[in-house]
């Protein structure tokens, strides 16, 4: 009996170790001339609304780089991992890609929380990391490059335009998380500059679907402009209930977040038409680079692909900026690549001509104002170029002070 049990226990311990070890030891054996690059995004879980198009964009970008000569004359080998909308898996996958696959660059992260889970790992184990998504700004880290648009770049254009067009009285609705709070503060700054008046601001938790009390308050205070910084599936309910309560036409909605989760596709045209948004990229942009890009995209993923989002273009920008820097550095070594990235890289993106600001590691974007049309898409209203990420540039100088690994929160 006791011998038997010992056997059992030994076996048990063995299986446990093997089960754990099997995935750990992993598999190697790579074509030596390929450069491994890593991508961490969500293919599954609630965040995959944003993740799946970004994964498509990642594959598209890598293939394009490989077709046009690769990097240092070598092809890139993409290792795409699914982080399952779970930040702990983000951290785990980042470690795996850096230490096990020894990737030349790590790209990905969608929510700011996922980026903040990855960043300590990047700093601890050392890798060049690109975060390709719109976010609240302020990340100042020698190893990290944020290619997404930041609040100052959107709101600095949108707020003066909206107050001039619709009126000076503004009411802000923001998702109750970091992006919402910081952006709401920037709304105040730009509103003051534009001589507008803030009638109120509200922060809505991400799981709220009943906007009844919000809509009543809007009817009471009667703003000219509702500034929406709402995000996620649940908040789509706001636009729907706003239209149902008959407020559409009585006040304008402008937004720096509408469309990222394809809200204009989910909502009916009669609910969403007329909402004004601002992003660096729209599928409808009328420039030759974009025309060719959209055609190639549709050829690759099918003509009825939903809507090519700003995030997809940002991912494309991230990979191409990195590839260009490596070719310029003639090396994959982190220090050399970062030096090349800090040498003023420029890129002709579908959104227009963009440059990488060396001090803040952020991108100087183009920005376009657009209005939701009646065909689940946007009509471009006006375009602006050379919009600098002043929020982050104001606080972050990685040339003068390279040993920084933090995120600044703006003080107002």
């Amino acid at each position: 009996m006791s011998i038997l049990r010992r056997e059992v226990m030994r076996y048990l311990l063995g299986t446990g170790m093997i089960a754990a070890g099997a995935t750990l030891l992993g598999k190697t054996g790579v074509a030596a001339d390929e450069i491994p690059v890593g991508s961490i995004l969500d293919a599954t879980g609630p965040i995959n609304i944003y993740g799946l198009p970004m994964i498509d964009a990642t594959r598209f970008a890598i293939d394009h780089i490989n077709e046009t000569g690769g990097v240092l004359g070598r092809k890139l080998r993409l290792i795409q991992t699914d982080c399952q909308s779970n930040n702990q898996i983000y951290a785990q996958n980042a470690v795996k890609l850096i230490l096990e696959d020894k990737v030349a660059v790590l790209m990905g992260g969608i929510t700011s929380a996922s980026r903040e889970a990855v960043r300590p790992m990047v700093d601890k184990y050392g890798a060049v990391y690109f975060y390709n998504e719109q976010y609240e700004g302020g990340v100042c880290d020698k190893l990290v490059f944020c290619t997404g648009v930041t609040p100052a770049q959107q709101l600095g254009v949108l707020i003066p335009w909206a107050t001039k067009k619709y009126g000076k009285k503004v009411y802000t609705l923001a998702a109750d998380y970091n992006y919402g709070h910081i952006s709401a503060d920037w709304v105040k700054v730009y509103l003051k500059e534009a001589g507008g008046q803030l009638l109120g601001e509200e922060f809505i938790p991400l799981d709220v679907v009943n906007f009844d009390s919000v809509i009543q308050r809007l009817q009471t205070v009667k703003p000219d402009v509702v500034m929406s910084l709402l995000v996620g599936g649940n908040h789509i309910a706001f636009y729907r209930q706003f239209a149902a309560a008959g407020l559409k036409g009585r006040m304008a909605i402008v937004s720096a977040t509408f469309g990222l989760g394809n809200e204009q596709v989910v909502l009916r045209p009669e609910e969403a038409e007329g909402i004004v948004v601002i992003y660096p990229y729209f599928q409808e942009l009328d420039n030759p680079v974009n025309k060719a890009w959209v055609a190639a995209w549709h050829k690759r993923f099918g003509a009825n692909y939903p809507y090519i989002t700003d995030s997809a273009c940002t991912v494309w920008n991230g990979w191409h900026i990195w590839a260009e820097a490596v070719n310029k550095a003639r090396s994959l070594e982190s220090k050399a690549v970062i030096a090349a990235l800090e040498s003023g890289i420029a890129f002709d993106s579908p959104e227009g001509h963009i440059t990488l600001d060396p001090k803040s590691h952020h991108v100087v974007h183009s920005a376009h104002l657009a209005k939701v049309n009646d065909k689940h898409g946007f009509d471009i209203l006006e375009s602006f170029s050379n919009i600098a990420p002043v929020d982050t540039m104001k606080v972050c100088d990685l040339i003068a002070n390279p040993n920084q690994h933090k995120q600044y929160t703006p003080q107002f």
């Binding site: 076996y11 089960a19 795409q80 929380a113 889970a117 690994h405």
Partner: protein, 335 residues
């Protein structure tokens, strides 16, 4: 049927496990060690749930709350410059405190097991909302910015040292050994407890609470004690997690995180504590594997796994395996 005291085999397992914990960092690449460390932290969390659920029949649906509170306590204190071992201890105490308060309301109010599940779930959801709404930079404790959904980042790693000497941050190998060692100590103490009078009374509470009470035992403080201890261990696990990833965010309070803990123990099997360890390892490895191959849908598999285990393998892997391997051979060779 159940053994009345600890077998020598079990003792041998502990020694073997200790040797493995010390030796593995010499054999495996650093990435595997980092990965195994987080697996072991979750084993610790699973064991803490098994202490309450498996031993005393107290199923908490919000064990992630104790884990998360421990992680936040560690993060806030460590960022503010408290020595990391003290911060870890504080993490454990916060977990125990929260479990103690909930346990007091539940056990002294004599609510049913279902209500305990509801209460723990409610508190977890409240914590998720409260911590998620601290996004404004004005929410800070000392120099720790709570950071809403982004959470607290750049939390210092655990550093150990002798008094008066500067402490040294544990590298991946050292941290792995610390976590593994702690897990083994908790497992050993937990197993020893099941053979002690206290553990036996817990078992009778699980089997028939009324009878235990009629036999003259005060079940309330015993349930409270084991629940608080369980919360405390979960709290330490949370602190270790914050140290492992250098971040903590409200996601630890999410429904799916709470579900995970329950799934680990359900899959591994309740009551033996080893089951919790095996369950956590198997499910984590499976999650990792499914994520790596990218095609399968992890949540779908985990959900169906949960249904399948409740329906078909209610005891969980380890007890079923032990039963089969101990009983079946005896049929072949009747003594």
């Amino acid at each position: 049927m159940a053994p009345t005291r600890l077998s020598r085999t079990e003792f041998a397992i502990w020694v073997a496990a200790a040797v493995a914990v010390v030796g593995l960092p010499l054999l495996l690449p650093i990435f595997s060690i980092v990965q195994l460390t987080v697996f072991l932290i979750f084993c610790l969390l699973a064991v803490s749930l098994d202490l309450a659920w498996g031993l005393a029949g107290l199923l908490s649906f919000g064990h992630a709350a104790f884990f998360g509170v421990g992680g936040y306590a560690y993060g806030i204190l460590a960022v503010n410059g408290l020595a990391t071992p003290a911060a870890l201890l504080a993490g454990g105490i916060s977990g125990a405190l929260l479990a103690g308060i909930l346990g007091y309301v539940a056990f002294y109010g004599r609510v049913s097991t279902i209500f305990l599940a509801v209460m723990t779930l409610t508190v977890t959801l409240i914590l998720l909302q409260v911590m998620g709404s601290t996004a404004d930079p004005s929410y800070r404790i000392g120099s720790a910015v709570l950071g809403g959904y982004n959470g607290i980042t750049n939390i210092p790693s655990l550093a150990l040292g002798l008094p008066l000497l500067p402490s040294i941050e544990l590298g991946p190998a050292g941290f792995f050994r610390f976590v593994g060692g702690f897990l083994i100590v908790v497992l050993a103490l937990g197993r020893l407890m099941t053979f002690a009078p206290f553990g036996r009374i817990l078992a009778t509470i699980r089997e028939n609470e009324q009878r235990t009470e009629l036999s003259g035992y005060d079940v309330r403080w015993r349930k409270l004690a084991v629940f608080a201890a369980s919360g405390g261990i979960a709290g330490v696990a949370g602190g270790l997690f914050a140290s492992w990833g250098n971040f903590i965010n409200p996601e630890v309070f999410s429904l799916s995180q709470s579900a995970q803990v329950v799934i680990w123990v359900l899959v591994g099997g309740r009551g033996l504590l080893y089951g919790a360890v095996i369950g956590a390892l198997v499910v984590q490895a499976l999650t990792q594997y499914l994520g790596a191959i990218g095609t399968a849908y992890t949540a779908l598999v985990l959900g169906l796994l949960m249904v399948a285990f409740v329906l078909l393998l209610r005891e969980g892997l380890v007890p079923t395996f032990l039963r089969l391997s101990l009983i079946l051979p005896r049929h072949k060779t009747p003594a």
